[in-house]
Structure formats: structure tokens, C-alpha cells
């Protein structure tokens, strides 16, 4: 049979394995043997004009929606006959003697194994992706953002008055990326609410907003100024410059490279946490 396959492959100018698989698929659909199918193809007329020269080296299996009418091209879960013509729709083909299968159809079958034709235009695909992107942007971002702003605006006490020193401290906090380890993000879950008020109903400075933090590795700092010993400026200053002098167990960066002025700003900011939320 391999000679027959090679012959057909040569006629169709298609890879041998594709011809083999297409013949198997055709045989399964028509109830004939693979040899019979190959013989009919080999006996066909010349096909050089329609041979799928460009399509055969396609690199990957393409995927796109095939319309319902195109259902005949379906992958079978069976070992290695990925393309099978659905027998029901193909009934007329079955009735046609195998020997009379037009060569163009054979070529088309080979092509279809590697390139699934789709009816939708690229525009439909692009529109689909863009629609989901716009939907996400509007409903997952703009809507909750506007909702939060309107909640804050309707609040009676919607501003926080913070001193310039606190803002400077907040900027240094952000610059050092303290929010990598510390949150100021107390949740409304029952355990967390015991820790202090939620920060939503306030307008705030950008530097303050940036410092909320998303992951809690070290202690949450939203009530820093309400606790011992972190409400002590001297203790804080000492801890920030040489943490091991206060607690040897916990690794904490030493910010001894900060000048005195910046350190003061940072301590002022940390001491403000908790007060502004009251």
C-alpha cells in the first residue's frame, strides 16, 4: 500500500502522512477500504493546478469556529484519524462510486485537515475581543471607581487634613516601598474591624493612597500610633535605623542611609497612622 500512498502523494503534491490519514478518513466515511480509496485517487486526473502547495507546510493546527453546515469536518477522538466526514450529511457521497470522486474534492480534503476554513471575518473576532476588553474596563473598573467616589462625596466627613510633614513622610514611605511588606488595609471582616476604621470614606492625598499595600508580611500599620511601643518616636527612630537593637528575631531593613530630616518625616508619618482614621 505504501507505493500507492507515495504515488497519490506525488500526484497531489501533498505529504504522504496527510494523504494516508485523509484516505483513512475517507474510507471510514464511505465504508470502502483504504486501498480502494487510494486506487481511485491514483487513477484520477491530473491535479497539479489545485494541489495545496502553500497550505501543507502550515506550522500548527489552526482553530476557528466552523459554521454548522461545515460540520462534516470533525476530529475523531480515535487514535490517528483526526478528520472524519460525518456519514449522515455525506450520504450522497457514499452513494457515489469511490472511483468517481472528483480529484478537486480529494485535494480539498487534504487541505481541510490542516486548514479549517471559517466563515466569520477577522472583524468579528477582533470585535469580540475588543467588546470583552471594553466590557471589563467599564464594569470591572470605571463603574466601581465612580461608585467609590460617589460614596466618598456623599460622606459628611470626606476629607483628611494632613500636614505637609506627614505627606513628605508618606512619600518617603512609598519610595522605600514599605508597602511591599506592610499593609494599611484593615478589612471589614469581623476580625479586622476590631482593629480600626476602614479608610474608604475619605478623600486622601495620592502619596497616602499608594501606601495602602496589598500583601501583609509584617504587621499592618493602620493603627500604628495607637499601640505601644510603636507610638513612641524615639523607639521608632531607633528601630528604623537599627532594627536588631530592638528585636533580633525579626529581619527588618536598616534605614541608616536616611538623613535625619527624612527619618523625622517618616516617623511623623508613622505616628499619624491611626489618628487620621478616627
Amino acid at each position: 500500500m505504501s507505493e500507492l500512498v507515495n504515488k497519490v502523494a506525488e500526484i497531489l503534491k501533498a505529504p504522504v502522512d496527510l494523504v494516508q490519514r485523509s484516505a483513512e478518513a475517507r474510507a471510514a466515511a464511505s465504508g470502502k477500504s483504504v486501498d480502494e480509496v487510494l486506487s481511485s485517487w491514483a487513477g484520477g486526473e491530473s491535479v497539479e493546478a489545485s494541489a495545496p502547495k502553500e497550505e501543507t507546510p502550515v506550522e500548527e493546527t489552526p482553530v476557528e469556529e466552523t459554521p454548522v453546515e461545515e460540520a462534516p469536518v470533525v476530529e475523531t477522538p480515535v487514535e490517528e484519524a483526526p478528520v472524519v466526514e460525518t456519514p449522515v450529511e455525506e450520504a450522497p457521497v457514499v452513494e457515489t462510486p469511490v472511483e468517481e470522486v472528483p480529484v478537486e474534492e480529494v485535494v480539498q480534503e487534504v487541505v481541510e485537515e490542516v486548514v479549517y476554513l471559517k466563515n466569520e471575518s477577522s472583524l468579528a473576532f477582533i470585535s469580540g475581543v475588543l467588546s470583552i476588553a471594553v466590557f471589563t474596563f467599564v464594569f470591572a473598573f470605571l463603574t466601581p471607581k465612580n461608585q467609590s467616589i460617589s460614596v466618598v462625596e456623599s460622606s459628611l466627613n470626606n476629607t483628611i487634613s494632613v500636614s505637609a510633614d506627614v505627606i513628605k513622610g508618606a512619600e518617603i514611605y512609598s519610595e522605600l516601598n514599605c508597602q511591599s511588606c506592610h499593609t494599611q488595609n484593615v478589612r471589614t471582616l469581623i476580625p479586622d474591624t476590631q482593629n480600626g476604621k476602614v479608610l474608604s470614606n475619605k478623600y486622601a492625598n495620592k502619596a497616602l493612597i499608594k501606601n495602602i499595600g496589598n500583601i501583609r508580611l509584617g504587621p499592618d500599620l493602620s493603627t500604628n500610633s495607637l499601640r505601644e511601643p510603636t507610638n513612641n518616636s524615639q523607639w521608632l527612630g531607633r528601630y528604623l535605623t537599627d532594627s536588631s537593637s530592638v528585636n533580633r528575631e525579626i529581619p527588618h531593613p536598616n534605614y541608616e542611609f536616611l538623613n535625619d530630616e527624612d527619618l523625622d518625616y517618616l516617623v511623623t508619618y508613622l505616628l499619624s497612622l491611626g489618628e487620621s482614621n478616627e
Binding site: E59, E60, T61, P62, V63, E64, T66, E79, E80, P82, V83, Y116, L117, S122, F125, I126, G128, V129, A133, A140, F141, P144, K145, Q147, S148, E171, E175, L176, N177, C178, S180, C181, N185, R187, T188, L189, P191, N195, L199, K202, Y203, K206, I209, K210, N214, I215, R216, P219, L221, T223, R227, P229, T230, E249, I250, P251, P253, N254, Y255, E256
Partner: protein, 463 residues
């Protein structure tokens, strides 16, 4: 090996990105190692403006999720997108400049961070660079759209559609990152949606694009079902952007958003199952034996599945307080990124013979690279999972006892529970650094002294 200064076509452009990829991975692993060292040994190491945990954390994040990711996007775009849909020839100079800008702006962002540490926005980017990134992403998105619209054949390939989806959401993530901060909620909104569009959708879609190629062509397999592939594509595209909000369950975010996030996260199981079935059934039809590089692809799929299963399982409402705001969130990001890296390494070894005409010998060096990469990501996921769950449990236990912020002695107890895992993270980073160095050596060795084989010309030549 000849590599022209200005690549003349996609073939040479792909070569360039194949060579840049190991370099960016090396930089990323070096920064991750420095970051973890400065966390674990914070009391011992001398700190300064550059070498402190906070700054290194920013750099490391940018190198991984910015630079490495951008390089892989460019590689996937040049080799899988423009080739398969290929009407890009006319627009080649534009494509070349855009892709260069794509990687260049990410690199610029890292370099400028050293000089403008006080000028970084909430996602860690400099405002001007972010604007450039936005323009470049828009350019690539425009080129991709043009490419789709200009194609003559009425077909679209699995890989190409995933790349297109990734680029669309990559662009969206920059739009979100530039949004203004007005109220405290904005912080969580922006970081959540940026994470889910940039990392969850962006990374996993580029990963999908590479996998849909690797599971068919290199092992001569036929895609099991295009319908399942479509379910995977549209399912993930719709669901993934919403899945990050749930980790802030109970926070200042609107309640409806947190609930929607929970339900849509649970629904991830549908596209995940579709992908799994499609993958398993597809590789069963392979006609070529899987080599060591292909086994790396298998492992990347396992990693991807584990990541998604954790993503789904963590959506249960009673588990969220335990995993939210903890290192568990990093597990998800690392999982997606790790899958992408493993698949890209596999793709790189597949491409070298095709692009450079040098065959790959799978020697001890390559065994070490593959084994090392698998171990690194497995350890990284397990370790951060333990940190996340243990610390989350501690926070909640303490909160129930009336001290949610856990200071002083209380925090010593928490640290006693997770401290060892943080030290382990440093050694995992060291392992990763070693492996990426070996990977770099392996690529250089193969490209420069591998046995000569036939170069497979890409479809289009613009010379």
C-alpha cells in the same frame, strides 16, 4: 553564527529574541535573588538607597513581569503570529521598531528607576515611560489588528488568537495603570485589575499561544478539538480579568465586585477543563517521540493546572480571609509566570535548529537546566503557598483574639511559623539564578557550536 545589527526579516528578528530571552531571564533571577537575600538577611546586609528590600522588590517585579514577559511576547509575535497570518511584510519596519520599543521601554523602566525612585506610580512605573509603553502596546495592537484584517486566507490559528487577546489586555493594563488616584479604593482597584489583565490574562494567553503551537507542530500531533480551544480562549478571556478582586474580600472594594469576582473565579474550572482535555487528547495523537524539551512543556502544563486549581479553590468564601493579602497571591502570579518561562524554554530549544541551523544535543547541561527549572518552580509554589496559608491563619487567629495587626511578641510567633520559609525562598532564588546561568550557557553553546543542520525558512522574506 551571523546576527545582523538590524534584522532584515522575521526570521532574524526571532533569532534576536531567542538570544535576548536567556539574558533577561538571567537579569530577572539575579534581581530576585538579591531581593530575597535582602529580605532574609535584612539585619546583616548593609542597606543603602539601591540595596534595600523595597527597591529590589520593585526592580525584580519589573524585570520578571515586565522585561522577560515583553521579550517572550515579541518572540511569540514574530514567530507564531506574523508567520501564521503573515501579511506583515509590508509593515515590517514598523513591526521591527514596535517590537524593539516593546522590550526597550521595559528595560528603560528598570534603568530609570535608579534615578527617579521618588517618581514611581502605584504599579512601580515612571509616568513618562508608562505613556511610552502605552503607545508601543497600542502600536503592536494596531499592527496585529491590521495583520488580521489584511490576511487573505479565511482562517485564524489557535496561537494567533491567544497572542491577539494577550496584546489587547496588555494594552488595557497600561490604561488602568495610568488611572488617577482619588480615593483609597482606587489603590486596590488599580492594582487588582492591573494584576489580572497584565499577569493573569497577558501571561497566561502568551503561554497558551506557545503551548498550542508546541503541542501540535513539534510532536506532529493534531489538535483534538477546535471547539474546546475556543472555549478555553473565550472562557479565560472573559473570566480572568475579574479574578483578582476576591483576594481583597471584605476590604474597601464594593461588595458586589468582590462577590462577582468569587463566582467568576469558580467558573474558571470550565475553560481549565476544556484546555486539559484538549491538551491530553492532542498529545495522544503525536507521531513523534517527545524529547526532553517537550517533557518540559508537559511540566509547564502541570504547573499551569496547579496554579489555576489553587486560583479556583481559593475562591471559597471561608478560605478567602486566610489567603487574601498574603503571599498566596504571589503563588498565582509566580505560577502563571513559571508556566510561561518553562514553555518558552521549551520553545527556544525547538527554535534553535529551525532558526540558527544548529541541532540541540541534550547533554547533562540541558538535563540540569530542565531539572533545575522544574524544581525551582515547584519549590517556589509550595513554599509561598505555605507562607500564605500559615501567615493568613496567624493573622486571623490573632484577629479573633482581638489583635489583628499583631505587633511585638505576637508577631514573633507569626515569624516563628513562616520565617524558615522565607529563608528557603532565598535558596530557591539562588537555585533559579544558577539554573538560568546554565540555561544561558547552554543556549550560547548550542548556537555557536552545535552540529549544523538545515535552517527552516520562515514563510515570508522581506529582503
Amino acid at each position: 553564527m551571523k546576527l545582523k545589527l538590524i534584522p532584515k526579516n522575521e526570521q532574524e528578528l526571532s533569532k534576536l529574541f531567542v538570544l535576548i530571552f536567556p539574558l533577561t531571564l538571567l537579569l530577572s533571577s539575579l534581581l530576585a535573588f538579591l531581593k530575597d537575600s535582602y529580605f532574609t538577611f535584612a539585619n546583616l546586609l548593609p542597606n543603602n538607597q539601591i540595596f534595600n528590600y523595597g527597591f529590589l522588590d520593585r526592580l525584580s517585579t519589573k524585570a520578571s513581569f515586565g522585561l522577560v514577559f515583553a521579550t517572550i511576547v515579541c518572540l511569540a509575535f514574530t514567530y507564531l503570529f506574523s508567520k501564521s497570518l503573515g501579511r506583515i511584510a509590508v509593515l515590517y519596519p514598523l513591526l521591527f521598531l514596535t517590537l524593539l520599543g516593546f522590550v526597550g521601554t521595559e528595560f528603560l523602566d528598570i534603568v530609570l528607576s535608579f534615578f527617579y525612585q521618588d517618581n514611581l506610580n502605584i504599579t512601580g512605573s515612571i509616568s513618562v515611560v508608562l505613556l511610552l509603553k502605552l503607545l508601543v502596546a497600542f502600536g503592536l495592537f494596531g499592527l496585529a489588528s491590521l495583520n488580521l484584517l489584511a490576511k487573505k486566507e479565511t482562517t485564524i490559528f489557535a496561537s494567533a488568537q491567544f497572542i491577539y487577546g494577550a496584546i489587547a489586555f496588555y494594552f488595557l493594563s497600561f490604561l488602568i495603570a495610568r488611572s488617577e488616584l482619588i480615593v483609597f479604593t482606587d489603590s486596590l482597584l488599580i492594582t487588582s485589575l492591573y494584576t489580572s489583565t497584565h499577569i493573569y490574562v497577558g501571561i497566561s494567553f502568551i503561554y497558551m499561544a506557545i503551548i498550542h503551537f508546541l503541542m501540535t507542530k513539534p510532536i506532529d500531533a493534531t489538535l483534538f478539538s477546535k471547539t474546546l480551544s475556543l472555549i478555553t480562549f473565550w472562557g479565560f478571556l472573559f473570566l480572568l480579568p475579574w479574578t483578582s478582586y476576591k483576594y481583597y474580600f471584605g476590604s474597601v472594594l464594593p461588595n458586589w465586585l468582590e462577590n462577582v469576582s468569587i463566582y467568576l473565579s469558580l467558573s474558571l474550572i470550565i475553560p481549565l477543563l476544556a484546555f486539559t482535555v484538549n491538551y491530553v487528547k492532542t498529545i495522544q495523537t503525536r507521531e513523534v517521540e517527545m524529547n526532553k524539551s517537550a517533557s518540559l512543556m508537559n511540566f509547564s502544563v502541570i504547573l499551569f493546572l496547579i496554579t489555576n486549581v489553587l486560583h479556583v479553590v481559593s475562591s471559597f468564601e471561608n478560605l478567602l480571609p486566610l489567603v487574601g493579602l498574603t503571599n498566596f497571591q504571589n503563588v498565582i502570579s509566580y505560577g502563571y509566570f513559571g508556566s510561561l518561562v518553562l514553555a518558552s524554554v521549551s520553545l527556544t530549544y525547538y527554535l534553535i535548529p529551525k532558526l540558527f541551523g544548529r541541532s540541540v544535543k541534550y547533554s547533562l547541561l540541558e538535563d540540569l537546566v530542565f531539572g533545575g527549572l522544574k524544581l525551582t518552580y515547584l519549590f517556589l509554589l509550595v513554599n509561598n503557598f505555605l507562607i500564605g496559608v500559615n501567615s493568613g491563619y496567624s493573622w486571623n487567629a490573632a484577629a479573633n483574639a482581638g489583635s489583628p495587626a499583631i505587633y511585638g511578641e505576637g508577631f514573633n510567633i507569626v515569624w516563628g511559623l513562616v520565617g524558615i520559609n522565607y529563608s528557603a525562598n532565598t535558596f530557591i532564588s539562588l537555585l533559579f539564578l544558577g539554573v538560568t546561568m546554565l540555561f544561558f550557557i547552554s543556549i550560547i553553546r548550542t548556537v555557536s557550536s552545535g552540529d549544523i543542520t538545515t535552517v527552516e525558512e520562515m514563510v515570508f522574506n522581506n529582503e
